[in-house]
Symmetry: C2
Subunit: 105 residues, 2 copies
């Protein structure tokens, strides 16, 4: 049985890539086809495809086939709360460092 720290780590790792974060943000509102995602993130198709597979495996995205296209979407829209939380934490951390810098200089 896995401990909570390992579960948290697995979850975090799924988000820990610039391309994957960009994909998640892009999918926050509506589903998009692989082709649309590739265009948006400006990546290589095979690479993007692998990142999508990873996000799906991690339980963050789901896909749906329609004709030739495969559409990906958020499995749980609440995940965007988490995404926003990362964003906020990073910004707060950056600002904090700037505050420290201002104090010193």
């Amino acid at each position: 049985m896995e401990d909570i720290y390992s579960l948290m780590t697995e979850f975090l790792k799924a988000f820990s890539h610039p391309l994957r974060l960009k994909i998640v943000e892009y999918l926050s509102e509506t589903e998009k086809s692989v082709g649309e995602i590739v265009k948006y993130v400006d990546g290589e198709i095979s690479n993007v495809s692998r990142h999508l597979a990873l996000l799906k495996k991690a339980g963050i995205l789901l896909d749906r086939k329609e004709g030739l296209n495969i559409y990906y979407h958020m499995k749980n829209p609440c995940i965007m709360d988490f995404y926003n939380c990362i964003n906020k934490a990073v910004k707060s951390n950056l600002e904090m460092n700037r505050d420290l810098l201002d104090k010193i200089m």
Copy 2:
């Protein structure tokens, strides 16, 4: 200049290790010496030391020397909000999967 996705990724990666998460939680209230941390997480000292160095470099921890001991503490207590957010997101995701499972079976 780095983009926001890379900054977010760096930040996430700092948390993406079971030992590091456990350390961060342990330090949520008060500072602790390396020895105390090693005992608590039950790891090898040189390994724990490296994880601490990483967390410090990532801007999450600060250290303070007193005699033979080095005490680590959270640089920005608000980071615990983020920690709790990870926890919550993981649990919500697990529950969601269980809900789906319940629906199917």
